[in-house]
Amino acid sequence: MKMRASLIAFLFCALATPSLFSQADAEFAKANQEFAQGHFKEAISGYEALIHSGQWSANVFYDLGNAYFRTGDFGRGILNYERALALERHHPEATANLQIARDEAHALEIQPSSLERYLQFANINQYSVAAATAFWLAIFAMFALILKRRRSARAIAVSICCLLVLVVAMYAIFTLERGTKGQALAVVTGNDVQARLATADTANSVLALPPGSEIKILSTRGDWIYAALPNNLRGWIPAKNAERVRL
């Protein structure tokens, strides 16, 4: 009985997935058409619908960013370019348009530390694969060392090298995840946003944040978020005025 239910579910998925993809393709094409005709708000609705249905891809976010840019919403434009780059690190169009949008909005960026800059030669996924490979190689080498009667220098060297690679990869993952482009990265989407010293609109201002400025969310309290700001500052900003890059 159970087997039969599983089989039915599998068949349903196998049949439904292509139709879902074809539907998403149609929506994407329609949104692109709206954009080409200058109906940017309709295009935004189309792209947003795709994203809400979980059809995430760097190109969809890039196109959505373009649509927001055309409506003058530089904050959301930059946010979606950042999302496109978060999905696909080397997305040349998104990189170029992000810079243009930042120049237009005078958005502020958080400068990564020099260590983070060095570690960014690979992304988190690549470090994850490297860490997993190094881990298993080290395990196999150590296992062979244990079972063999004679200690092999080659096996010892392989174990040490693999463990070193594992440690470096894990440290890189940890640093990048908590770095300027990590999971806490958010983009200011509101206009005239002021980072303040306390969770009150009347509190003293720390920094004025143009739309599209990068912040790093440190904690959340009610409708306010405490964030690391550009220029090594910290302050509170209303939660409604910023969105995380990673969905």
């Binding site: 891809s57 840019f69 990189t95 992000l98 810079q99 243009i100 003293n204 201002s205 004025a208």
Partner: protein, 664 residues
């Protein structure tokens, strides 16, 4: 600052001089005959000792007499001041006994009030001295040169005179002549039978609209009424704003012969419009304890406080013995007199960067970092410090914003006093260069100086910076654009260049859905880890199985070898019957064959002569010998008898042993 100090030592001056001259002359007079006698002959030591002792006693007596003589000094805290500026006069009476200072010092144009006294004791070189300092506050009404005449002070039975003091009073900056006449600095009213008073001190008579004027409020209470302030003082009046009152201290003073606990409050006011105002009065409410009213005629003894029978309420015995009769708790209003203040409008033609700041300020500026790329932020920090209305001090204005993008500044204020009139306000402005620049733009801050009665504009010094190139990504975009646009001829053209357009839409969409989640958080990543895990488990199982098999073989070999060596030992001893001997010999051959087969795993029980001969690759003779050995062994084992002799000859044994030894 200069002060005039004159010392009067009338009582002992002549005596001191006489004793000092005697003390200084006597030893030398005594030494002359001694020196002469040394040259000539001998003089008795007793005479010299007597002279020294006498001199020492005289010096000590002189010192004691000098310490004991009363003296008086008078000193001004400053010999120069301005109209409305307060200063202090101290009359110090040194010597034993009580002194009676002048109750009132009257000088035309000066208001002099006694504010209290303090007593000091000193011990110096075994000589004790005591002194009493009487403090007076002097408030000049008008400018000019004033002479405070010598004052008579009674010290014990002596009458001493203070020196004459000179005070120069200049015009207060910003005050008009007419204003000086009326001197609206303070007012005082004594209420509730002189038990408490309130005093409003406004140092300036004339101010400008928005100018911060410090104000001092003094509230005095007779400590005997055990006062309790139930409503803090409040400055009433219209046309000005007052900052929150800050209590700055509490002192004990004697005013007109009465002791008072004086609490001082500080605040600042700022006029909102031009015109003539009355600041105050200051109002407050306190609770005091006063003696109950008596219906009976006065029959009590006079209080020690009521020396002159002035019907002092404290002459009531309640204050000498509070438990004799219960006092009455009363609420009393405290009120000062208002003070006139003339407020003038600010002069016209204010500079563009003037934001309403009035006072006296200085500005320092810094910028970080000094080396940036085009578009990078530079934080310019401007600190404006001084004295004035900091609530109207805004961020300095940028004189030339061309080529810069300016973000709204942030500010913080650090005050240096209780009321926030003086301090430092720091602004942080983020500037972003749109093009190559050599220096941070000049920042200008303007304020109105009420002392100079003119606007002052402060400008920041040039801060050199290095701005490099354009944004790299922007250049990439420019390169990716169609080559129709002509190359920018100069940097100047860059700033006027039309903003670059974004790139085209992308119409292809990948078939797979991408995820923001890092790979290590996805289930597929951990599922894939099962493959090496299973491989590891398989590898481990195979290794363990191999080890077990190897172990079993090893034990079998060991057992075979052990049995072989034991049988060989028996064969060499030649102790057994022929049946046993041949059985053991054939068994050894079988064991050796099994051992020689190695990993072939031949069971020794199934080994026959041919197998053994093949295993050891024996020649024909050895093969025959081996065959015979197996046949004899079988015969002895299965027939139970043998055709030959019952014993084995030594030659046969040697042959068998040789054969077995050669099996290698």
């Amino acid at each position: 600052m200069s002060s005039e100090v004159e010392t009067s030592r009338e009582f002992t001056r002549g005596l001191c001089r006489g004793i000092e001259s005697l003390a200084s002359r006597t030893p030398s007079a005594a030494l002359q005959p001694r020196l002469r006698s040394e040259r000539r002959c001998e003089v008795g030591l007793n005479t010299l000792q007597r002279i020294f002792i006498t001199a020492f006693a005289l010096v000590a007596a002189a010192q004691f007499a000098r310490a004991d003589s009363p003296s008086v000094t008078a000193v001004l805290s400053n010999s120069e001041t301005v109209v409305g500026g307060t200063l202090e006069l101290q009359i110090k009476v040194t010597g034993p006994g009580d002194a009676q200072p002048p109750e009132e010092i009257s000088v035309d144009g000066l208001e002099i009030h006694a504010t209290g006294q303090s007593r000091q004791f000193e011990i110096h070189n075994f000589a004790t001295s005591s002194s009493v300092t009487y403090n007076y506050t002097i408030l000049p009404f008008r400018a000019g040169r004033f002479t405070i005449p010598p004052q008579t002070v009674r010290a014990g039975s002596k009458l001493l005179r203070t020196p004459e003091l000179i005070l120069n009073v200049a015009d207060a900056p910003g005050s008009s002549a007419g204003a000086r006449q009326s001197r609206g600095r303070q007012s005082q009213s004594v209420s509730a039978g002189d038990l408490l008073f309130a005093e409003l001190i406004v140092p300036k008579k004339v101010a400008y609209v928005g100018e911060i004027v410090p104000v001092q409020i003094r509230m005095g209470f007779d400590p005997r009424v055990r006062p309790r302030l139930i409503e803090p003082p409040e400055i009433t009046g219209q046309g000005f704003t007052a900052q929150k009152l800050q209590q700055s201290g509490q002192t004990s003073e004697t005013i007109n012969g009465r002791p008072y606990d004086v609490v001082t409050y500080k605040t600042a006011i700022a006029a909102a419009r031009a015109g003539k105002f009355e600041v105050g009065p200051v109002k407050g409410k306190a609770q005091v304890i006063v003696p109950r009213a008596r219906s009976a005629p006065r029959s009590r003894a006079r209080s020690p406080f009521d020396l002159f029978d002035l019907d002092d309420p404290f002459s009531d015995p309640f204050f000498s013995n509070p438990f004799a009769q219960m006092g009455e708790r009363r609420e009393v209003d405290i009120k000062s007199e208002p003070v006139a203040l003339e407020v003038k409008p600010l002069p016209p033609s204010a500079p563009p960067s003037f934001s309403g700041a009035i006072g006296n300020f200085v500005m320092t500026t810094d910028a970080k970092p000094k080396s940036v790329q085009v578009g990078d932020p530079i934080t310019v920090t401007s600190a404006i410090s001084g004295r004035g209305n900091f609530d109207r001090v805004n961020a300095p204005a940028i004189e030339d914003e061309r080529g810069w993008h300016k973000y709204p500044p942030s500010s913080k204020f650090k005050q240096d006093d209780e009321v926030g009139i003086s301090g430092t306000k720091t602004f942080e402005t983020v500037l972003s260069p749109n093009e190559k620049k050599q220096a941070v733009p000049v920042l200008a801050f303007s304020y109105f100086d009420p002392a100079k009665e003119q606007y002052v504009t402060l400008r920041s010094e040039s801060i050199a910076i290095t701005v490099q190139g354009g944004a790299p990504a922007t250049q990439n975009v420019a390169a990716s654009q169609p080559a129709s646009a002509s190359p920018a001829p100069a940097v100047a053209a860059q700033s006027t260049q039309k903003p670059q357009d974004i790139l085209y839409q992308l119409t292809d969409r990948p078939a797979t859905v991408e995820s923001f989640a890092p790979l290590y958080t996805r289930p597929v990543f951990w599922t894939v880890q099962l493959v090496p895990l299973l491989g590891l488990i398989g590898f481990a199982g195979w290794k363990i199985r191999r080890a077990r098999i190897d172990n079993r073989e090893r034990r079998r070999f060991a057992a075979l070898q052990h049995e072989t060596s034991e049988l060989m030992h028996k064969l060499r001893r030649n102790a057994g019957s022929p049946q046993e001997y041949y059985a053991e010999a054939s068994r050894v051959v079988r064991l050796k064959t099994a051992l020689a087969s190695g990993s072939g795993g031949i069971d020794p029980n199934v080994v026959d002569a041919e197998t053994a001969a093949d295993t050891f690759k024996l020649d024909a003779d050895s093969r025959d010998q081996l065959r015979r050995l197996f046949e004899q062994s079988d015969e002895w084992q299965y027939s139970g008898a043998h055709n030959g002799p019952a014993t084995i000859s030594p030659e046969s044994r040697r042959e068998v042993l040789e054969l077995i030894k050669n099996l290698k």
